[in-house]
């Protein structure tokens, strides 16, 4: 049974492209350009879904992207909005949230229980006794939700793009199009966005029956298309308004983040349903929905219908319906005085009865509440919202079009900070005070008449251009409306309820009254208690009526009630669109590929990729064995680690030494060229942040290293303090520019000396010495270090030569059994040496006194960052201190883990393990722990509790640990 009518001028379907799809097992015909709802409706399918709470059958309501009771799944995707989603050949659709199909839904019984499920019912039950709540909660969770998520749904990476323009216009109706033309003609770049698949706004439905208006649209359309300065984005919505005019435009293909100099919101209005019993039956729809069906999709909304209205729009709807052969039984006008004479007469001329001062008291359901069979019409008292049921008339029909008024699509205006006022002459909120650079035009601005809307668009554009500095005349806009487009209270009380205000959440008039009775008589509290406007349509068709009801309950003007806060998003927006292509930058050292090729187990060390250890191809090696072997190589022969991730900063200038004195805890003024010193950084509270090595390369030049993870922050803080302290210092961050490698172990000198002209003998190059020269033919910086081994050389070369030098060292080391080692072995090696790692062995509160670092703190200097706090801390007793420890020889119990606790004899927490490792070289378990200060003395015993609760004895032990080998 097709409700498709003859081809209409401007229709959005392509009759040359028929297609077939399936809905709830039924074959359905449609055309390219149809939405799911329009195609179904054309095929006589009117039950498009079930409601969220009561599982009532629902059809088309708004047909404007908030029919959230017509959500579908195609088996893959879910919560597809049938009212706007285009059909495609072969789709297999089902309504979501049903049990056994949309018609036979087993959950429809809930509708009959509704008297027992008053507003906020769930707060009132299910919790006594407490143990029963999980049972009920399980039931509630099963009933909750809409569609089922498909866990195999593929991850879509949608592009996100930035775009920039002078004027962003939201809404391509008469006012938006006019605004776009005005701005573009003056040379401004314009982006014009509309969520429909064609531009024109209400010209494509409300006024589509008027040839003159259609001609106007054609003219506007042609002008916009010929304007190079206008970029039109259709089938896309403005998701929200964010600071400094950032508006994400959401298309099916992705998001465009528009940064505009000015924004004009010309988003129009949402039609609001009058509220009467059973206003939700399939077949009862908004007048604008009926017009969209007729004009865009050439679908007859119903065969025999009534129009209930409280404005002139209903009369136009009636004429549109009549023009396509709908038998319009009556126009029921809730206003005592009805409409103006001329439009009333036009309707009467079509043979349509007009009932002034009347309402639909209730719609009467057909069959299993799957449609409407008649309406009960009664005289209506606008002041009391009561119907006079003593004088009711029953009108048979299979559909109702409702036109009682509008609410502004002002979400983005609210988000931008617009103050709104309630205009009594049109019964609508309109902008009272707009933020600078944001403008409103057209119906959202309270301007309804077509010519005036076009003027209003040009006016808004003129104001936007003035804001941008171009002086243009701003003409005022006048409109003459014969009556208010919106009714102040289009609500009909009914003792049996089911007069729905919020179709998302099944909220009836009495729910508001009851909520207010319970004390929730503030609009925000009412929203939270009733959940009005919290569903996926975000109150597009419900908030205005909710405000009107609350205003009447509290006997306050609507303006005093105010509105709830409009949050992004304008329409629900896919997570994949918002996430888009996430960028995850990584840094790679010059030797990265070598590590990979040689079995390096790469991991993310902060932003860097580093090898934890190496398992060369063809070698069967556990991770633990690999680490021990690498460490043994360093102890017994020679090893090399890629240390390029170290922060490397050059400090130049006459104040270089003075700067380091203030920045770090140690002394640098007297440091000799070619010497290195430890550079420890504190915060102002005296907490240890970083340690590195500062080398003096010249009187006015230092080369400072930082921990790998702190390179960026230390450099940044140096820059800040150079500025703050007004010092003559130039900083250069060489972290990425220099590759670094440490050659460590007893044979390291023998390896390095083959490659360099620098004298690396013990006499010429003692520990801590720094030299420059050639290594493997490359300009290099060479330093004796002792972090992982008594004898070790750190070689710094330009990044681009890093791999070359690395290869040269590996080659030169072959004869000595050189092995590369990773960060895991490095951890072990430095532990054997007794070096703590900041932020591993210390935490966000540790000061140098607690970390045995007193010697690095020059308290006699005039100033360094954190010094004043240390002076305070020095007066306080320490309650914990870091110690090195060893487990008993031959320990073979459950090994404690890092962050296992130290437990004292009174079973209190007295510390924790910060590092622990087995050392094959020492054949002992060694570590660092925080313990009470008295337990840091060599030989002090303390107890560590393992994961499973076993107690393990540990002994404080001086480091380096190598003395253990002697015993």
């Amino acid at each position: 049974m097709s409700s498709r009518i003859a081809k209409k001028r401007g229709e959005w379907i392509n009759r040359d492209k028929p297609l077939t799809f399936e809905y709830e097992g039924q074959q359905v015909q449609g055309y390219e350009g149809d939405t799911i709802s329009s195609a179904l409706w054309a095929n006589g399918v009117k039950v498009l879904g079930r409601s969220f709470k009561y599982h009532r059958a629902r059809g088309i309501l708004s047909f404007a992207n908030h029919d959230v009771n017509a959500l579908m799944t195609d088996g893959e995707d879910t919560n597809i909005r049938a009212d706007v989603w285009p059909v495609s050949n072969g789709m297999k659709l089902e309504a979501v949230n049903t049990d056994g199909g949309v018609i036979k839904d087993k959950n429809k019984y809930i509708d009959y229980l509704s008297p027992f499920l008053p507003v906020g019912f769930y707060y009132k039950t299910f919790y006594k006794p407490k143990r029963m709540f999980p049972f009920w909660e399980d039931k509630i969770r099963k009933a909750a939700g809409l569609g089922k998520v498909n866990f195999n749904y593929p991850r879509h990476i949608k592009p996100k793009r930035y775009a920039h323009c002078d004027v962003l216009i939201i809404g391509a109706g008469a006012s938006g199009l006019s605004a776009a033309l005005e701005a573009a003609e003056q040379g401004f770049s314009v982006i014009l966005v509309d969520e429909n698949r064609q531009i024109g706004g209400s010209l494509t439905y409300d006024l589509a029956g008027d040839p003159a208006a259609t001609d106007t649209l054609s003219t506007l359309q042609a002008a916009v298309e010929s304007q190079a300065n206008i970029r039109v984005i259709i089938d896309a919505y403005a998701g929200g308004y964010y600071g400094d005019n950032l508006v994400p435009i959401v298309e099916k293909s992705g998001i465009t983040k528009v940064r505009a100099q000015t924004v004009i919101v010309a988003a129009g209005v949402f039609e609001q349903p009058p509220v009467f019993r059973y206003n939700d039956l399939p077949g009862v729809m908004l007048g604008s929905a009926a017009q969209r069906l007729v004009h865009r999709y050439a679908v007859k909304p119903f065969n025999k219908g009534v129009v209930v209205t409280a404005n002139d729009h209903g009369y136009r709807t009636a004429l549109d319906l009549a023009s396509v052969g709908v038998e319009v039984v009556a126009v029921i006008d809730m206003r005592r005085d009805g409409a103006a004479q001329d439009i009333t007469q036009k309707v009467k001329d079509k043979g349509i009865a007009v009932h002034k001062g009347s309402c639909i008291y209730e719609a009467v359901a057909a069959g299993d509440k799957l449609g409407v069979k008649e309406v009960v019409v009664c005289p209506y008292d606008e002041t009391t919202a009561e119907a006079d049921t003593s004088r009711s008339v029953r009108l048979a029909c299979d559909g109702v079009a409702m036109s009682a008024g509008w609410a502004p699509a002002a979400a983005l205006l609210y988000q931008a900070g617009t103050k709104m006022r309630y205009d009594d002459s049109i019964q609508q909120f309109v902008p009272a005070q707009l933020p600078e650079s944001v403008f409103a035009a057209g119906k959202v601005n309270g301007v309804f008449e077509l010519k005036a809307r076009m003027q209003d668009g040009r006016r808004a554009a003129a104001e936007a251009m003035n804001y941008m500095g171009k002086v243009v005349a701003v003409d005022s806009v006048k409109q003459s409306l014969s009556s208010s487009p919106s009714h102040p209270y289009p609500i009909v009380n009914h003792p049996k309820g089911k007069n729905f205000v919020d179709f998302d959440e099944d909220i009836q008039v009495k729910d508001f009254i009851n909520a207010a009775k319970e004390g929730f008589d503030n609009i925000e509290l009412m929203k939270r208690f009733t959940t009005v406007g919290m569903g996926p349509s975000q109150g597009k068709h419900s908030n205005m009526n909710a405000i009107r009801i609350l205003a009447r309950i509290r006997q306050l003007p609507v303006e005093k009630i105010g509105t709830t806060t409009a949050r992004p998003f304008f329409h629900p927006t896919p997570i994949g669109h918002l996430g888009g292509r996430g960028f995850h930058p990584h840094r790679y050292t010059a030797m990265h590929q070598w590590h990979v090729d040689n079995g390096g187990e790469m991991f993310e060390a902060g932003i860097w990729m580093r090898p934890g250890f190496y398992t060369p191809a063809g070698v069967k090696l556990s991770a633990a064995d690999a680490v021990q072997q690498e460490a043994l190589a360093v102890r017994e022969k020679v090893g090399m680690i890629d240390g390029s991730t170290l922060g490397k900063i050059e400090v130049f200038g006459p104040d270089a030494a003075a700067f380091l004195e203030r920045f770090y805890t140690g002394k640098f003024a007297g440091q000799k060229v070619g010497e290195s010193r430890i550079a420890m950084l504190l915060d102002e509270a005296g907490v240890m942040l970083d340690d590195g090595i500062a080398v003096r390369m010249a009187d006015d030049q230092f080369y400072v290293s930082t921990n790998s993870s702190n390179a960026a922050t230390v450099y940044r803080e140096m820059q800040r303090n150079v500025q703050l302290w007004k010092m003559q210092v130039t900083l250069v961050n060489l972290t990425g520019a220099m590759a670094a490698m440490t050659v460590a172990g007893p044979a390291s000198r023998s390896v390095v000396e083959q490659l360099t002209d620098i004298d690396v003998s013990a006499a010429a190059m003692p520990d801590g010495a720094f030299r420059t020269g050639k290594v493997a033919g490359v300009d290099a910086r060479l330093m004796r270090v002792s972090f992982v081994s008594d004898l070790a050389f750190e070689i710094h070369v330009p990044y681009k030569a890093g791999l070359h030098v690395w290869n040269a060292v590996m080659e030169a080391g072959k004869a000595f059994g050189i092995r590369p080692f990773g960060t895991d072995a490095q951890r072990l090696l430095r532990l054997e040496m007794g070096h703590h790692l900041i932020s591993h062995d210390t935490d966000g509160l540790t000061n140098p006194f607690e970390a045995h670092s007193d010697s690095l703190v020059a308290m006699d200097k005039p100033f360094f960052i954190g010094q004043r706090s240390l002076k305070i801390l020095a007066k306080k007793p320490l309650n914990k201190k870091l110690t090195t420890f060893v487990l008993d020889q031959g320990f073979n119990g459950e090994l404690p883990n890092e962050c296992n606790l130290v437990i004292d004899s009174a079973n209190n927490i007295s510390g924790r393990v910060t590092s622990i490792s087995y050392s094959r070289y020492l054949n002992r378990h060694i570590g660092f722990a925080f313990v009470p200060p008295e337990q840091t003395n060599d030989g002090a015993r303390f107890q560590i509790r393992t994961d499973s609760g076993a107690m393990v004895s540990a002994t404080a032990c001086n480091a380096p640990f190598f003395h253990l080998l002697e015993s």
């Binding site: 920039h164 960028f583 930058p585 990584h586 840094r587 990265h592 681009k800 070359h804």
Partner: protein
């Protein structure tokens, strides 16, 4: 190629695309990724080329500008702008007191300056390790719209201006120049981010129907 001592920061990211490689400026370089006509088409659509091997010289400090002028270098007058020397070398003014000079392959200016000892205070040489790219093609606006938040059409790169901004999450320097008669974008970032940025940009470029081109496409090595 085996003899090249130096390595482009992006070298290992190239490997997947199996370029023809060669030694330029002592650096292993991807000379071409495809036949000349394929690369020509790419460069018209959307392409990326690694030119990290070009020689550079960086200098920073309150007296850096004077020192460069004394060495006969023509300097950009305003911060965040660039200029070409007569031999085609680029000089970029990064902020106020820092400069980056980049030679064409046939020039030796950067090397000469690197070898020149600095005898005065307030001039500090900066070791550079840039990953450097050339991006070209008519779809470059589409590429940048995905990876860069600022408006590049709004004259921000006109009149020899350069911008220091974030590209695909990485700090980078960006300018527009004419190379071989073609308008191209130049990108420099810290070399350690080079492989990442190359892959991130190339991924989008390939989605858009473009691809990599080799060094020889722009310069005769």
């Amino acid at each position: 190629m085996q003899d090249a001592v130096l390595m482009s920061p992006v070298a290992f990211a190239h490997a997947l695309k199996k370029p023809v490689s060669g030694d330029v400026n002592g650096m292993q370089t991807a000379l071409s990724f495809a036949d000349a006509d394929v690369e020509a088409t790419r460069s018209k659509t959307l392409s990326i080329c690694d030119v990290s091997n070009l020689n550079r010289f960086g200098v920073k400090g309150p007296q850096a500008a004077d020192w460069l002028k004394a060495a006969g270098i023509k300097l950009p007058e305003t911060t965040n702008s660039w200029t070409s020397q007569e031999n085609g070398s680029l000089v970029m003014r990064l902020g106020n007191t820092e400069f980056l000079l980049e030679d064409k392959p046939e020039n030796q200016l950067a090397k000469t300056l690197s070898d020149t000892a600095v005898e005065q205070s307030g001039v500090h040489k900066v070791l550079r390790n840039d990953a450097a790219f050339i991006v070209s093609g008519e779809l470059t606006p589409a590429l940048f719209s995905e990876v860069c938040a600022i408006d590049l059409d709004n004259g921000s790169l006109e009149d020899n201006r350069l911008v220091m901004t974030v590209i695909a999450g990485v700090s980078a320097t960006l300018l527009k120049q004419t190379l071989n008669g073609q308008s191209v974008y130049r990108i420099w970032c810290d070399g350690t981010f080079g492989p990442y940025l190359w892959k991130a940009l190339l991924g989008i470029i390939e989605e858009q129907g473009g691809g990599p081109v080799g060094f020889n496409f722009y310069y005769n090595a």
